[in-house]
Symmetry: C2
Subunit: 152 residues, 2 copies
């Protein structure tokens, strides 16, 4: 039934420790979320599940995504539109995002210097590091050749 048993173990442990209940709906959302390759919004996931004949409600999807973020199975992203996006952390390398303002493409990249800077600054200011977000907003170098370019 549950596709991702290893993640389920993490989630189950987290739920127990916070006296949250272990429900089938929550694991259904977890499996569906971890199956997606890339970023997705809560509503997108809800629609995908709906199309796959799931009967889990929108409210449950939203609430479960927050739980999955709390236990670090998902990351919360924000690309400047007013929309929360999630992304699986599970078995994936950390990465940041480049968002093209011309064509809308989102490209992932990794850079190991950023984590170091994070630690430096937290140290200097006296805080405990938690997460960070680093988004580069860019423009196409050659708009005429970009297949995604949409003006503006």
């Amino acid at each position: 039934m549950i596709k991702n048993k290893q993640a389920a173990e993490i989630f189950r442990e987290f739920l127990k420790n916070g006296k949250n209940r272990i429900t089938p709906e929550r694991f259904e959302v977890m499996d569906a979320a971890l199956e997606i390759d890339g970023h997705f919004s809560a509503d997108e996931l809800y629609i995908i599940m709906k199309n796959n004949k799931s009967r889990v409600s929108r409210a449950t999807v939203y609430k479960t995504l927050e739980l999955l973020t709390q236990c670090d199975l998902l990351s919360l992203r924000n690309f400047g539109d007013n929309m929360k996006r999630y992304e699986s952390n599970y078995k994936r390398q950390n990465h940041d995002h480049l968002i093209c303002l011309d064509c809308g493409r989102i490209v992932e990249f990794t850079n190991n210097k950023i984590k170091k800077i994070q630690e430096e600054i937290c140290d200097a200011l006296g805080y405990e590091p938690s997460t960070y977000s680093f988004n580069l907003f860019v423009r196409c170098k050659n708009k005429k050749e970009c297949p995604y370019y949409h003006g503006n």
Copy 2:
């Protein structure tokens, strides 16, 4: 009438070049926005202006903030809630933000390595740099001593 004449000159030039009209409402929004010390949302600015007996409408405030961002008098920020925040660029040093998840404080910092990383990555991936956002989410080191700590 207009408090910030230097900024007004920049704004006026920008408006002309884009065949946008020079209206008193736009300069009223500009002045109010540049007067704020720190981050603000469009609605916050609207309320502030309302309280100061301004008759500029919410729609105009929203639209003008976008124009002010386009001509770089303001920066658009995103702190992970679904809310656009603006911040004056005018006569201010570039900086990034640290957001404490425990107590909610937002601390500004500057780090000159980040701009270099931005350029490196854009170069490597073949894009033109535009802007970036770098937010550190952190936790209080000593929650018991933090005057802003609010649990969770």
